[in-house]
């Protein structure tokens, strides 16, 4: 397809290790192509994995083009497809919606909708309903820690599996997936012996024998006074035995956990806790029978059937789910890719060719993070010879938990060695630090590692590029944090100052908090470091949890509650007891006890807010509350001023989000209505459901002195002069149950058909102690690989210095930790000279900790410096009382205070005009028709026939006659009385008044006579008496006076003679002369 245009390589694979300037490479490359006209900017597809990366890439390319003088091209970039892969997919769905039979206005569905649609889908799947009967037996136990019930756990499992299935496009048949899963489970489980019924009988018989011989509960024995633990154990044994025996051993048919417990019955007698004679033998018989569990085919069969049914149910659910989404025009993140992929691969669909016509090249960053489906989407373009560059690094493939599959990148490289380019220079880290990085790279990846040549454009002045904090005794997380923070604090306060290179200013300067990052495996652990840093008086940046519970949000929240429900005494008590009120519980409770109303500040202000219009949105209510109580002013002097204002802003924004969200989507979560309380319920739900939903927004962005805290995962792609790699004692192991994407015979399959060949491996849990381990063993290789990569990512973030925690007390532990993995893989060890890697020693500074020096951090009182810019720097002011308007219209001037000179007289020119227009009740509307009649007919009675058209109302003939008669008599009166030279209707006026205000408007009628000009205005008011008319005249006077002044200004050479008010309903005119 693309042969003719490409002088570009069909495929280039760039393998770019940490710090090799990937983004720079892409930016340069793309700019070059644009320059050489090999690619037009709006015909580039470049995808990355985060919004930020995409935005950065776009602006870098723009920068390069602008620098190169290609402004037109730079401007075109806005239409380029430079985005995340999801946005790319979404854009395709948008642009080709009709071609693919989708809704062109697809919207991202929210969690509530997922729950609703999924719940409905599950309800109609028979296979799902069968599974529900046996959840507990199938190993669903719920999770107390995550507050997860068994049912939710099941839902999540289905969802997770659905995610896996969708990430491989579920293009093969359900049966082939089931078959694969089964074969895989059987293969790993290994040989079984005998049949389940025989084994059950045997166990049942032995239990019976035991219970017959020892029917009573030993724990309650009066003969022996067992120790507490033993007694508990015997209790449990007895309970299990009873259960095993009940219903003729029914439980033993499926309750494998019970089997496992029977394997562990207490069978040893001690002096202190002797078991009765004969008991031991009988118990051992039971144990021996239960020991068949690992070889028993029962658990295997159950696991297989569960896996197969689970897959089946998931397929059912997926089908219903996607149909319903389509009907409602909803997409989720996976759809963005899968629908796009579907339309590009669907042979019936012409999208592929249409799209290729619009594109010149494809660039994929972080390719190692693509999942099979994403791969297939991109590959469908590459396969059609769209010049493609993929950039990635196998060593940094750590997104497997999102179904990313780095094997694809590996395979692409292996298949196309000649198109592969390996970047081997590093621009990030100092030359000395690079030495160490190369050592660990070699250690972690062996032959798979390419040494990087240091090319950073500065010489580091940091004394020790590597520091190790070593402990030979076990330390708690808190103690580790204290130690590492102490070191950081020392570095920050060292004298002479530690100097680092400032990339932006291009100078060496003293180290600041902002140059340092502390990175951990887990977010939770970072909180320990944050606490220690604060104790040491060092500011830090960490996305903290607990947004909704922060005080300012709670205060604003309770204010809203008060406004929505003045009977909410709880909210009132809260406000009265906290910062806006008494800051003490006693007075608030005393008021409540005495049934006294809560009054004074802030309640009177809140009452004011509550008294406003009932149709205000929750956002407007909150804004009013914030303004009335000056909440932003209030928090600006709090110790956590920055965080408080950021948190309050988020609340404001959540209100707007609530109002602008799709109502159906909100209602599907059960949130009906749009009032304050519904909003609060919705927000609570949102915060709880979303994993990151309760994170506090970062309070500041440019704080030079704040240490950055981040997870290893999130640190990918970032860099700092100094990085502390913490929490190396983190354990890891394969979790069960698990599902993984697998490709049987990966080496043989073609990349084209990768999706057809992908399968899901299911790894269940088992009751028998040893069986899960077999399944874990199957998962270990992948996990180990991921661990290596994660270590590599974490350790390559620093430009000049790494501080590494070294829990050497774990040396003899059998558990796998990141530290043990690092040590065993890289062969690193600490020697007095430094860190040794199989003979090569890299010098480092080592701090050996002796004993639990937990409280190492000096308590520098935490200072809370207040921001010097922003709210605190503005003075409170008062708006001027009177302001001069920019412009006015005369008709807006009714009733403005003004002295009326008086002297008007009334003249009757015709008869009363009584008209009723059917369906028009508003007197204003009626007035308009009459006005229009005067405008149209004055001087042109022949237009009578078109009057209905002119007023846009089907007038009855007699109405036309009446109107025409009225106009005629007024006309006649004018003619006879004033002998006009000219009459203009609807005359525009535009002048400046003496204050500089623009006056613009229209006079109903302006009449020029020999001696000057008259201003005429028609009024259709109901003013039956002269007195009323006189009064109303005064009301209108300012407006008329305005016309007069305007006319004077506009026609300086003419005289304004007077004003005529035409009371059209009465055939009466009020005339006022102006002298």
């Amino acid at each position: 397809m693309h042969e003719e245009k490409s002088q570009l390589n069909a495929l280039t694979i760039v393998s770019a290790g940490a710090g090799t300037g990937k983004t720079h490479y892409i930016q340069q490359e793309l700019a070059k192509w644009v320059k050489e006209k090999l690619a037009a900017p709006d015909r580039i597809v470049a995808v990355t994995f985060t919004e930020t990366a995409a935005a950065e890439l776009k602006s870098r390319i723009r920068e390069a083009l602008v620098r190169a003088g290609m402004l037109e091209e730079a401007l075109l970039l806005d239409n380029a497809y430079i985005s995340t892969i999801h946005s790319f997919g979404l854009r395709l769905i948008g642009e080709f919606a009709f071609d693919a039979g989708l809704s062109p206005s697809s919207r991202l569905l929210n969690d509530d909708e997922v729950r609703l649609l999924l719940g409905t889908a599950l309800a109609i799947s028979d296979r799902a309903n069968e599974l529900i009967e046996n959840l507990e037996h199938d190993g669903y136990t719920g999770s107390f820690d995550n507050k997860l019930t068994v049912e939710e756990q099941f839902r999540q499992r289905v969802l997770g599996l659905a995610g896996k299935l969708r990430s491989v496009g579920k293009s093969a048949s359900p049966d082939s997936f089931a078959k694969y899963a089964e074969v895989r489970i059987r293969a790993i489980y290994g040989e079984t012996l005998g049949d389940r019924e025989t084994w059950r009988q045997a166990l049942y018989t032995s239990v019976n024998a035991l219970m017959d011989a020892f029917p009573s509960n030993l724990a309650r024995s009066r003969d022996v006074e067992y120790g507490v633990t033993i007694r508990k154990e015997l209790w449990d044994n007895y309970r299990d035995l009873t259960r095993a025996r009940s219903d003729e051993g029914e439980a033993l048919k499926t309750d494998w956990k019970l089997w496992e417990r029977l394997r562990k019955l207490k069978s040893k007698s001690t002096k202190k806790n002797p078991l009765p004679e004969g008991y031991i033998e009988a118990v051992q018989a039971v144990i021996a029978a239960a020991e068949r569990l690992p070889a028993n085919p029962g658990p295997l069969e159950d696991a297989v059937s569960h896996a197969v049914n689970l897959l089946g149910a998931t397929f059912d659910v997926l089908n219903t789910f996607s149909e319903e989404k389509r009907r409602r025009g909803l997409v989720d993140y996976t759809d963005m890719v899968s629908e796009a992929q579907r339309m590009l691969t669907d042979t019936e669909c012409t999208v592929l060719s249409a799209l290729l016509e619009r594109l010149d090249c494809l660039v994929v960053d972080e390719f190692q993070d693509t999942n099979p489906l994403q791969f297939s989407l991109l590959w469908s373009l590459t396969r059609e010879k769209l010049p493609t560059v993929v950039v990635g690094d196998l060593k940094q493939a750590i997104m497997g938990f999102q179904n990313a599959d780095s094997r694809l990148f590996g395979r692409l490289g292996a298949d196309n060695p000649r198109d592969t380019l390996t970047q081997d220079t590093n621009y990030r880290s100092s030359a000395r630090l690079m030495e160490w990085i190369n050592l660990i790279g070699n250690g972690l990846f062996g032959a798979g590692y390419t040494e990087l040549a240091p090319k950073a454009k500065y010489d580091s002045r940091v004394e020790h590029p590597l520091e190790v904090i070593e402990s030979a005794t076990k330390l708690s997380a808190k103690a580790w944090a204290a130690q590492t923070v102490r070191r950081i604090s020392e570095l920050l306060h060292a004298s002479p100052a530690v100097e680092v290179y400032d990339k932006q200013l291009k100078v060496h300067r003293a180290l600041r908090g902002g140059d340092i990052a502390v990175i951990c495996y887990k977010n939770k652990r970072l909180e320990e470091y944050a606490a220690e840093l604060r104790k040491a008086g060092i500011r830090c940046r960490l996305e903290e949890d607990g947004w909704l519970e922060t005080r300012i949000v709670q205060i604003a929240w309770h204010c809203l509650s008060c406004v929505a429900d003045r009977g909410d005494t709880h909210a009132a008590a809260y406000l009265s007891a906290t910062e806006l009120g008494h800051r003490s519980l006693q007075p608030a409770l005393a008021a409540a006890i005495g049934k006294r109303p809560f009054d004074g500040f802030p309640f009177e202000k809140l009452d004011e807010v509550a008294a406003g219009n009932p149709d205000r949105t929750v956002g407007d209510l909150l804004d009013e509350i914030i303004e009335q109580l000056d909440l932003f002013g209030e928090v600006s002097s709090w110790t956590d001023a920055g965080a408080a204002r950021a948190n309050l802003m988020r609340l404001q924004h959540e209100c707007r989000e609530f109002m602008s969200s799709n109502r159906d989507a909100i209602a599907s979560g059960g949130y009906h209505g749009s009032g304050v309380k519904t909003f609060q319920a919705w927000l609570k739900g949102k915060v709880e459901r979303d994993r990151d939903g309760n994170l506090q927004p970062e309070p500041s962005v440019g704080d030079d002195d704040a240490v950055q805290l981040m997870t290893w995962h999130r640190s990918k792609g970032r860099e700092w002069p100094v990085v502390a790699v913490c929490g190396m004692d983190q354990k890891d192991y394969p979790r069960l149950p698990a599902e993984t994407i697998e490709y049987p015979g990966f080496e043989e399959i073609a990349l084209d058909g990768i999706l057809e060949d992908a399968r899901i491996g299911i790894y269940p849990t088992f009751a028998a102690n040893e069986t899960p381990r077999t399944f874990q063993d199957a998962l270990w290789p992948e996990l180990r690989e991921t661990m290596d990569r994660l270590l590599y990512v974490a350790m390559t973030r620093a430009r000049e210095k790494v501080i590494l925690e070294w829990p050497s007390y774990m040396q003899d532990s059998t558990q796998t930790t990141y530290w043990s993995r690092f040590v065993s893989r890289s062969g690193a060890s600490l020697t007095p000279e430094g860190m040794a890697f199989n003979g090569v020693v890299y010098p480092c500074l080592t701090v050996h900790l002796a004993g639990a020096e937990a409280d190492a951090t000096e308590h520098n009182v935490m200072m809370h410096p207040l921001s010097v810019i922003g709210r605190r720097a503005i003075e409170k002011g008062k708006l001027p009382d009177v302001l001069t308007p920019e412009s006015i219209t005369p008709s807006s001037l009714h009733n403005v205070a003004c002295t009326v000179p008086g002297g008007q007289r009334e003249e009757c020119y015709g008869s009363e005009l009584v008209l009723d227009f059917l369906g028009i009740t508003d007197p204003m509307e009626k007035g308009k028709i009459i006005h229009r009649a005067f405008e149209v007919l004055t001087g042109h009675n022949e237009r009578k026939t078109m009057l209905a058209d002119a007023v846009c109302y089907s007038l009855a003939p007699e109405q036309v006659d009446a109107l025409s008669a009225a106009v005629s008599s007024f006309d006649a009166w004018l003619q006879s009385k004033f002998i006009p030279r000219q009459i203009e209707t609807e005359l525009p006026l535009l002048v400046l008044d003496k204050n500089g205000t623009i006056v613009s408007g229209f006079a109903d009628m302006v009449m020029e006579t020999a001696d000057g000009i008259w201003v005429i205005d028609h009024k259709s008011d109901y003013v039956p008496s002269e007195a009323l008319r006189a009064e109303r005249f005064n009301t209108y006077y300012p407006q008329l006076k305005c016309y007069v002044d305007a006319l004077k200004a506009a026609c300086p050479d003419k005289q304004v003679r007077g004003i005529i008010l035409n009371w059209v309903s009465y055939g009466i005119a009020s005339v006022m002369d102006i002298v």
Partner: protein
């Protein structure tokens, strides 16, 4: 005869109006935008009213196609999405017709040689237009009518003045302008040259001082300059955290300039706001507080569509099971015939799953009728139609809600028509019709000669200013960029344009217009310009800087990257280089502390909430358990100070517990056989159903099937085991759900026992069911911290069956027998793992799942409760400490929900192990 000066938007119209007015007062001159021109033309012509209905015909025609490019999508989606498709397709058809001009036709396009996809789209549009009877969309139809009107219909002529490209006109607009001018040139009036000249001078041109960098940027932005400027003394780019800070710093800059005399009036400043809707609010609130007047700010204020919302909620309520929040929302609607307070109380009841509702006192007959019509279900369409009419009639009559009441009435009329036309109730369709709409209140506007001039992105500047402050320079703004269409790409349109000779507007043209506007906005500044770059949006998500900064960066010598232009105001080193930004004193905040001293009162706190007759409020086991955990929580409960929050239906532990209890209550009742397995199975299913209908009707919906199914399994299993256990121990059910009362240290207590069992040998067992597992309960009992069962025992010992509750006489006397004699045992049945824990000693034989704990399981709890009661009596309220939650749970096995209450949480003492004093700081919420 009117001279009409055409301007691109209302802002520029204001500017031109001022220019004209300054040149002396005028008659016959109008300055305005295209819609205003149309309005004047309409007033000056007499035209028959419009006949055809574009929208209606479009909606009809679009569904008539089977193979048009939209058909597949159209057939797949639901009604709401169909409307979206209709509007997209209709919009594109309008665009084509507009571009074709008054002389073009769709056939013209159809005959072209085009790429197949394009060809198909074009020809489908042509067919659609044909099917619609080739009518024109309203805007074009109107122009057509002017062009066709005969001279007798012209009342007044209009001469239109305009500048080419400012605004850009399409062929129709051109035609109308030409037409109007042709007609007016026939009349005697000549074109006014000075008006033409004024208009010509109106668009803003670079006005910065010669050789200043501001001037350079005004002239050269978005270009490649041949030379570069060195300094930026008249320009600065300031990056701050967010939009609020932008506004605050901007206000500070104005104040500073006024204070140090570098500006003489606020009017010297201009503020350019991005098209992000939130900025108006932020600016208004900050500038008002700073006392700086603004001019030209318009804020659109959306309001709630209360009327339609109430109707929609009503429909939701009538489509049973009624979602609780729909009920609650309706109850608090300002349209209800009762007070907001009464509405809130009703709402709270349903949120707590209490559906026995009474009309609020004082709401009279209409209140009762309204309540009934919301609650009772409807069966037939006709009943529904009636219900809706009745609803409208009962809505509140106050003036403040009149607009909403009328909207509700209108909607109901439409709904009634639909309902009556249908044989069944199509809830989905009705609800979708009732969806609330976007409503706006009258916009907030300020304008004042003294005010800071507010310009808006995408709109013309309207006043010359000295210092321009540009807010919101983040990606997507300055210039704003347009999305491309999926039906016609720019390439398509260009192709179509080349082949047909008609010009279709493509997105790059629109984008370049946006840039030109931005340039004119910049041009309006004569001395300085500051650009604010927010780094985060209000949710804290990062924002990228505006692309204009990249273009600005090339204008400067020594600036390599756009980033280098930015000065971050939060960075101390950057702050040094900033001009005109005021700074506050560098202070350190003093932590505000809340007092966590134990409050003392000069009263007996046990008297709180006591009955009017002076008798003390009776305590219940669960309330005393709260007291055990937190006296404050107990007190809040007594004072009825609990969060009045709403939650949608959730199937939480509480709901499960209530349902399971309810099933057990009836399943294991006096006189029922315990033996029959099958009976248990049948009964559980039936009883669960009844219980669900009573308390949690929402569980009948499909999406809860998994949960209900699982719960049924759970209950069934625990019921079987419980039945078996009862059989084994040979117990007889003496009473279920029975109310007991007695005294504790002389204070009245009462409560409902789940079950009373009679054992052979004259023993009584008080049973409490728990929908949980045995672990923590056992821990609690072993720690002596268990309270509930002991309290029931106490009640029997000190009182007995609660009087007057219709309990059978034998039961009463059976229980009363134990007051002075006989042994009372207590027992928990833990449903989740089917284990029973009893506080008895050697009452039962060996039963695997029944464990006897024969120590005093409540000694500590009873002592603690007694102590707490004494404290309260003396007026002392002991607050919790931060370590309580963990300690209570871990050491005593107590549940600590009470500690989650907001007020309890806030007023916790720092824990004893010397956690930092910080713990009570405001900061540390």
């Amino acid at each position: 005869m009117i001279h009409f000066l055409l301007t691109p938007d209302s802002a520029s119209a204001l500017h031109v109006r001022r220019l004209v007015a300054l040149s002396g007062g005028r008659m016959n001159v109008v300055v305005g935008t295209w819609p205003e021109l149309l309005m004047h033309a309409t007033n000056s012509y007499i035209l028959p009213p419009p006949a055809d209905d574009w929208t209606g015909r479009l909606a009809e025609a679009i569904g008539d196609f089977d193979d048009a490019f939209w058909s597949r999508s159209y057939k797949t989606v639901n009604t709401a999405e169909r409307e979206a498709i209709t509007s997209i397709v209709g919009g594109h058809l309008s665009m084509l017709l507009e571009s074709l001009g008054p002389n073009g036709s769709m056939q013209q396009l159809q005959s072209l040689e085009l790429k197949s996809r394009l060809q198909r789209h074009v020809s489908d549009f042509a067919k659609l237009h044909e099917k619609m009877g080739a009518i024109l969309p309203p805007a074009l139809r109107q122009v057509r009518e002017f062009l066709n009107a005969g001279p007798e219909r012209v009342m007044r002529t209009i001469t239109v003045y305009r500048i080419e490209g400012w605004p850009r006109l399409n062929l129709w607009q051109h035609a109308l302008v030409d037409h109007l001018n042709t007609i007016s040139s026939a009349s005697a009036h000549a074109v006014s040259l000075d008006l033409a000249a004024i208009l010509e001078s109106a668009p803003f041109k670079p006005s910065g001082r010669q050789n200043s960098s501001l001037r350079f940027m005004q002239e050269k932005l978005f270009q490649l300059p041949d030379k570069r400027v060195l300094d930026g003394s008249s320009l600065q780019w300031l990056s701050v955290r967010d939009c609020l800070q932008e506004a605050e710093v901007a206000a500070g800059m104005v104040q500073t300039a006024l204070r140090n005399g570098s500006a003489s009036s606020s009017a010297d400043f201009g503020l350019l706001l991005p098209s992000d809707p939130g900025y108006g609010h932020v600016i208004r609130s900050v500038f008002d507080r700073a006392g700086i007047p603004l001019s030209g700010l318009v804020i659109e204020n959306s309001i709630r569509d209360l009327g339609r919302e109430a109707v929609l909620n009503l429909l939701d309520c009538l489509d049973k099971p009624a979602p609780v929040l729909a009920l609650a929302s309706l109850f608090v609607s300002p349209l209800m015939p009762w007070s907001s307070d009464a509405g809130n109380r009703l709402a709270q009841r349903v949120v707590e799953s209490r559906f026995d509702l009474k009309a609020p006192a004082g709401s009279g007959d209409s209140g009762q009728r309204m309540l009934d019509l919301i609650i009772e279900s409807v069966k037939s369409p006709s009943a529904l139609a009636e219900r809706i009419s009745a609803f409208v009639k009962l809505l509140d009559k106050r003036e403040v809600v009149s607009m909403h009441r009328e909207r509700a009435a209108t909607l109901c009329e439409e709904l009634r028509a639909d309902i009556q036309a249908s044989a069944f109730i199509d809830w989905v369709a009705l609800k979708s019709k009732a969806a609330p709409q976007q409503l706006s209140a009258a916009p907030y506007t300020v304008q004042a000669l003294e005010g800071v001039a507010v310009f808006n992105e995408g709109r013309e500047p309207w006043r010359q200013v000295k210092h321009l402050i540009v807010l919101g320079c983040f990606s997507g703004h300055y210039p704003a960029t347009e999305k491309t269409s999926g039906i016609f790409t720019d390439d398509d349109l260009q192709d179509l344009g080349e082949k047909s000779g008609i010009s279709f507007e493509i997105s790059s043209e629109r984008n370049s217009r946006q840039r030109e506007i931005f340039m004119r906005q910049l041009g309006a500044a004569s001395e300085e310009a500051s650009f604010f770059v927010p780094c985060r949006n209000a949710l804290g998500k990062p924002l990228e800087p505006s692309s204009s900064i990249t273009f600005a960066a090339v204008l400067f010598d020594g600036v390599e990257k756009a980033e280098d232009l930015l000065l971050n105001l939060e960075s101390t080193s950057h702050l040094e280089k900033v001009r005109g930004v005021p700074r506050a004193e560098a202070e350190v905040a003093e932590p505000l502390r809340l007092s966590t001293e134990d409050p003392e009162f000069a009263a007996n706190l046990l008297d709180i909430g006591a009955g009017a007759d002076g008798t003390r409020g009776s305590e219940t086991p669960s309330r005393l358990e709260t007291l055990l955990v937190s006296p404050l929580a107990w007190m809040l409960d007594r004072l009825r100070l609990k969060p009045q929050e709403w939650t949608p239906e959730t199937f939480d532990a509480k709901a499960k517990g209530i349902l399971a209890h309810e099933v057990f209550e009836h399943l294991f009742a006096p006189g029922e056989p315990l033996t029959d397995e099958r009976r248990i199975e049948e009964q559980v299913t039936m009883l669960l159903e009844t219980a669900i209908n009573k308390s949690y009707p929402f569980l009948n919906r499909d999406e809860w099937k998994v949960e209900v199914g699982y719960l049924r399994q759970e209950i069934l299993k625990s019921a079987r085991r419980w039945g078996a256990m009862l059989r084994t121990i040979g117990a007889t059910v003496a009473a279920a759900e029975i109310e007991l009362e007695g005294t504790l240290d002389g204070r009245p207590i009462n409560g409902k026992a789940d079950l009373l069992l009679e054992l052979e040998g004259g023993r009584l067992v008080v049973v409490d069911y728990k929908k949980s597992s045995s672990g923590t309960r056992k821990k609690r009992m072993e720690a002596g911290c268990d309270l509930q069962a002991e309290l029931y025992r106490t009640m029997i010992k000190t009182g007995g069956v609660r009087a007057g509750k219709g309990v059978a006489e034998e039961t009463v006397s059976f229980v009363n027998r134990f007051r002075n004699a006989g042994e009372i045992g207590t027992l928990y049945y833990l449903m989740n793992n089917q284990v029973a824990l009893s506080n008895t000693s050697g009452w039962f034989g060996d039963i695997g799942s029944l464990e006897e704990i024969d120590t005093d399981v409540s000694a500590k709890a009873m002592a603690d409760v007694a102590a707490s009661l004494r404290d309260l009596e003396s007026g002392l309220l002991r607050l919790n400490s931060k370590s309580d939650a963990e300690e209570f749970y871990k050491k005593k096995g107590l549940s600590t929900y009470a500690l989650e209450l907001p007020l309890v949480k806030v007023f916790m003492k720092p824990s004893e192990q010397g956690e930092e004093g910080e713990a009570t700081e405001v900061a540390d919420a």
